[in-house]
């Protein structure tokens, strides 16, 4: 007698358009033992990814000057030559997402017509925000609006050597402020989140509705067919691992430098290699604890803690800062963003080369190089949502939060500079701008401490979710691979960061990680096509 219809069994998933393939998740995996640990890894993605990363680290350490120059020039060449391509592609992603919200495809539910969401809105939102851009908001929330404002109002605004957006507003502080906020929000609003949304939606659709493994190659099934299980797919997955690990490791290295500068500024802790290595070890250690505690007890919990802390800091600055100006500024900045959006996103016929290539194209390449990681993580936690809900929550709400964040932090800093003549906030180095802004507000010891904790925990939430993603890709899309594998990737990331920090080469490899944004832009454009094709065949 058999009875499997008991409590604990999920509700029927409803009809979906499964892809009929002979491929079975994990069929190319090899199970092996390394000492006492059992492993279940994809052959050859795991080995090639690991060995190539080691080879690149050694090459960068051994030939520092030449690799540094080569990767740096490659990045500048790509964002300089193909700026129109990055800008055009990002516009396509935004338009596709907006179309999906209003089109009948919005009704398709990820995981089947009757699937129920795996996570509540708050947990889901906390995780996608913490993985997506939390740390960037900490560093650029103050510095970027100030930079754009300063370059826009400067005497050389509009000249070829100026970094001002759209030619700036020489001498006009009001318009420079509008332009500065609009340009910052442009870089942190709809476009980056559309990039993440495209990757995440493609992965979720092809895994939960089409039944393919949760790994990058699955998105390309409609284009390459069964070839995605061969070398075509191996290369896509290896590239995704590569971009993710180098993106995370170099950010971790730079993050340690920035956190060290912050700790030095507040507590007088010396800036030294020892301090930085201790910070990397501590961040990696917490990330290890988080991945071993699992998605719910580790990653989600930390993301939620971080979300609460970030909200507290935001509310505090809102209350003690120029409250009315910030609140009215929020709507004003939204308006300015909408007003400047067509010009800022226009890829052709512009003269602000430094801004368009050095800021916008660089940002787009950066977001795109992070998109396999963030997209895959968002996909992992988004089952059960409709496409409309998904895009609204991954595109619209985070964009609005970004606008609010930039208004509170950037707006307050610009007010300090313009209204109070607090020049220090403009003169401070990038990593200290946030702390310099907080210094001018009450209770700066407490708020600066919270800011440091936020910086560190945001790194942890990127590091742990990134390790989970790399682990899943290198296990052929299996999400239940043995725990030592995720421990390996989290530790490996920390070791790569330490090696690059001590030996030099953080900048070189970060430039290379950002350069992977170029091939991934092509990949993402193909993913747009795959999404439309995939959604078309789904029951609505």
């Amino acid at each position: 007698m058999s009875d499997s219809s008991e409590p604990g069994i999920p509700a029927p998933e409803g009809p979906t358009d499964l892809i009929d393939t002979e491929y079975e998740v994990g069929q190319d995996n090899i199970s092996m033992s390394v000492g006492p640990f059992g492993l279940d890894i994809h052959n050859p993605v795991f080995a090639i990814s690991g060995l190539t990363i080691v080879a690149f680290v050694f090459m960068t350490l051994a030939f520092q000057e030449s690799t540094g120059a080569a990767f740096g020039e490659l990045r500048v060449w790509l964002t300089g030559t193909f700026d129109w391509f990055f800008l055009s592609a990002a516009n396509v992603f935004v338009l596709l997402c907006l179309f999906l919200i209003v089109s009948p495809y919005g009704k398709v539910r990820l995981g089947g017509k009757e699937a129920t969401p795996d996570y509540s809105y708050s947990g889901w939102f906390a995780m996608l925000f913490a993985a997506g851009m939390g740390i960037g908001l900490m560093f650029y929330g103050v510095s970027e609006p100030i930079s754009h404002f300063s370059s826009s109002v400067a005497d050389n605004a509009g000249a070829p050597d100026s970094w001002a957006p759209l030619g700036g507003a020489m001498g006009n502080a009001v318009e420079a402020r509008n332009l500065g906020m609009a340009a910052t929000i442009f870089h942190w609003g709809l476009h980056p989140w559309a990039i993440y949304a495209v990757v995440a939606l493609a992965l979720a659709l092809f895994s939960y509705n089409k039944g393919l493994p949760l790994t990058m190659r699955s998105v390309f099934y409609p284009i390459f067919g069964e070839r995605v299980w061969g070398w075509t797919g191996h290369i896509i997955d290896i590239l995704a691992v590569f971009a993710t690990l180098f993106g995370l490791a170099t950010s971790l290295g730079f993050g340690a430098e920035q956190a060290n500068a912050g700790l030095n500024h507040i507590f007088g802790i010396p800036v030294s290699e020892v301090s930085k290595v201790v910070l990397i070890v501590a961040i990696t250690g917490i990330a290890l604890g988080s991945v071993v505690a699992g998605l719910d007890a580790g990653v989600k919990l930390l993301s939620e803690i971080n979300m609460v802390l970030a909200m507290l800091l935001l509310i505090f600055v809102l209350i003690v800062g120029p409250t009315v100006a910030i609140l009215t500024g929020f709507f004003h900045n939204l308006y300015e963003y909408a007003r400047y959006l067509p010009e800022l996103s226009n890829p052709f016929g512009r003269t602000d080369d430094n801004f368009r290539q050095g800021w916008t194209a660089f940002y787009w390449a950066w977001w795109i190089s992070w998109s396999p990681f963030v997209g895959m993580f968002i996909a992992r936690v988004s089952r059960g949502r409709t496409v409309r809900e998904f895009i609204t929550c991954v595109l619209i709400i985070p964009s609005v939060v970004s606008v609010f964040w930039m208004t509170v932090f950037g707006g307050t800093a610009i007010s300090q500079l313009v209204n109070d003549g607090y020049q220090a906030v403009a003169d401070a180095p990038l990593e200290l701008k946030l702390f310099t802004m907080l210094e001018a507000l009450p209770m700066q010891q407490v708020t600066s401490f919270i800011a440091i904790v936020l910086v560190i925990v945001f790194f942890v939430t990127s590091s742990d979710s990134g390790s989970l993603v790399i682990d899943t890709i290198t296990a052929g899309g299996k999400v239940d691979s043995p725990v030592p594998q995720r421990v390996f990737w989290a530790s490996f990331e920390g070791l790569v960061a330490i090696a690059l920090l001590l030996g030099g080469g953080l900048g070189a490899l970060q430039a290379m990680a950002v350069s992977t944004g170029f091939p991934f832009t092509i990949v993402l454009l193909l993913a747009c096509f795959a999404i439309l094709k995939g959604l078309h065949s789904e029951p609505r």
Partner: protein, 138 residues
Amino acid sequence: MFKSIMVPVDLVHADKLALALDTAVNLSKIYHAPITYVGVTSSAPGPLGHNPAEYDENLAHFVSEQARTHGIETHGRTVVSHDPAIDLDDALIKAAHDIGCDLIVMATHIPNVADHFWPSNGGRLATHADASVFLVRG
């Protein structure tokens, strides 16, 4: 003596379960206790199904095979976990509690050095579950 037996199964590695499955069947016959086979899966596609519903069908097939082959009363239960590699023990402890079983029969590996700092699933279950736990080394 025992009224209900739970057997956690990892159907991907069913070949390694033979001894534990036989032990459970024999105990079921001795005590006339039904067996509930419990499988833990994630919502992502895996080797045993594109989604939890398909996984559940596979488990149901296995469960009915056991009943037919051995002439015992069997049940199946699929537990969906967000992160099965980590949440397995807790999911099984909860399943044992929900089923109300008084004996868990489970396959486990021969202890090695890793068990000193990384407790085995069977070890954790024996420490934390409400029921008696019979660990079968395979």
